[in-house]
Symmetry: C2
Subunit: 414 residues, 2 copies
Amino acid sequence: MDISSLSQINPPPRLLMGPGPINADPRVLRAMSSQLIGQYDPAMTDYMNQVMALYRGVFATQNQWTLLVDGTSRAGIEAILVSTIRPGDKVLVPVFGRFGHLLCEIARRCRAEVHTIEVPWGEVFRPEQIEEAIKKVKPRLLLTVQGDTSTTMLQPLEQLGEICRRHGVLLYTDATASLAGNPLETDAWGIDAVSAGMQKCLCGPSGTSPITLSDRIVDQIRKRKCVEEGIRTAQHQQGDEEMIYSNYFDLGMVLDYWGPERLNHHTEATSALFGAYEAARLILEEGLEAGIARHKLHGDAVLKGVHAMGLQVFGDIQHKMNNVLGVYIPSGVVGDEVRHLMLNDFGIEIGTSFGPLHGKVWRIGTMGYNARKSCVMQTLTALEAVLNHVGFKTVQGAALQAAWDHYQASGAHA
Amino acid sequence: MDISSLSQINPPPRLLMGPGPINADPRVLRAMSSQLIGQYDPAMTDYMNQVMALYRGVFATQNQWTLLVDGTSRAGIEAILVSTIRPGDKVLVPVFGRFGHLLCEIARRCRAEVHTIEVPWGEVFRPEQIEEAIKKVKPRLLLTVQGDTSTTMLQPLEQLGEICRRHGVLLYTDATASLAGNPLETDAWGIDAVSAGMQKCLCGPSGTSPITLSDRIVDQIRKRKCVEEGIRTAQHQQGDEEMIYSNYFDLGMVLDYWGPERLNHHTEATSALFGAYEAARLILEEGLEAGIARHKLHGDAVLKGVHAMGLQVFGDIQHKMNNVLGVYIPSGVVGDEVRHLMLNDFGIEIGTSFGPLHGKVWRIGTMGYNARKSCVMQTLTALEAVLNHVGFKTVQGAALQAAWDHYQASGAHA
């Protein structure tokens, strides 16, 4: 490659209507282009404290320990798991898609004894199924996914906190794909730890992971506290059986950096923090409830449009996420041909699928900045045009009319 | 905190002349404000390939596996260490400052048997000292820091690769603070793995970590390959003794994501990648050698100015990094008072120190975008004014004249 010929970054304009990443809110990107300040500048530590307060709003929690892990969404997952799971701990994972498998995978790396229950892709668990497994396995932690984009399903979590308390189990949920697009009540539902990512309903780029931790789980993490080598005294030097397997993801250290002690750990990813700040500020300015309602409005518009086009949708639609829809690829249509025409001729990206759904289902997202009427209308009209072009006949304009009718019935003209 | 009163990000303008982070190049920040594209968009995978090519230039290597780890600089360190060190492996760490201790700390988390040699802060090792320790310890890996900002010292690495090959040892170096400001010849010096960070000489914000890996070390990492749960077959499911303790930092997986297979792992932090691309492009456009010479020019200007002000500098000045200088706080002067006046009245940040140097030494950086004449002149004149204000008398203008003389003698008028 002749690197001397490379010019400045100039990505092609795309409308990202897949399962994420989606287009970032331009205000988030502008915040990220702000000039840097020092790590311990009072202006910086103020911003860190404000980020904590803002994400308490987004997570619907009073948890003091609500902060960012510097990495993509799976960095947030791994930080919580590796800081909480002690080798040999039993964990229970209800698996209803790819990201349940990911929790198993990470927990195994933490040397957990991993137990799973599974439902077919496209379904979710009833609370009784989970409680029954808890009784049988007696895990220390229940690891759940709220919204699994691989199947587009949303696991109900409302009753799990109460069940977990009753059985002395810690409850974690991965809300990477669901947070701010679907209801999540960290405190009211009794969830001990939640992690998220920026590139779905939070309107930002992947790269930092908001997390929140209950006092109950922080007490467990603090038991494994390990002050960093450079500032450790002699009696701390020998390994503790429970020492966390990671320095970067040692949440005890990360808490001491975000907390009043401000003990040096990593150098905070300032630009990512600026973006995360602005994303949360915009979400709370709109109102968390209003934003979730907006995700439902536009998600339902896609659903109605797709139905009117004569397409079938995937999975238990009563439990689908507001922000992503699985659509069966019709017989005789090559899924990737449609995706390539959408991308190359219309600049619109829709998603393919993983595992058992690969080649069978497209995934269409309406989330974050792209949970907007114009994005929905553009995507439906392009999809109709492309489907007809490849030989799948639709009633002309029916999808658009269904979406228009939906918006009118919802009283949403914006 | 009343979060409803929070307004958009508006950091105070600062000139960051400490040990890093420093001000990002505005062109890097602008690149980061580009709109996002999909993870497998051909435009995105092209950018990933271009980033690999660009960082081969910055690391002076032909290594195929030259890429980004999504996290701060210590994420890059930990990814290399956790992917390479098997529990029980012996590692040798020559410690000459805080970041040598960090390597020990991370290696212990990886369950290594950690051996150290130490020199007093302000010194570096002679190659013979390191070879002698290698003979005694017989480690699998030698873990080194190139530039340790805690002491401002630069460890010579030229001869270590040859020594390591002779003894069958893998050689890693942490070049977070030194890369692009001081010579580093990955291939010519026979270094197996190098990691860096963006927030020092690379002109960007913290948040992504460029790394490069020799084929020799990749062969070792590949032996621990572990395909992710969701796509793993039955015979892979039982734990391998050598399984990497992390999913996020499993470089085997990260390589498969950056390589032609494009196996799904994390969602690449696109904005950080755009910034890293632009940073490397600008460095190579200036010329790696020219950029290093620029760091030496301005670093020496600070050194001469500080001397002319009657201040003493810290450590073995023959082995100092080009991009940061330790300056003794004169007797009778309160270090933090000077730093606060510099920050609050001039908007200029200089650094404090860690550990044994805390309260004794300031650290003044000239790196990346701030390795510029105007930054040096502003910092020297502000420091002179503040020192006189707190009662440390200097010869008026001597520091500035020394810097001017240095620039003139160097033929640098820009």
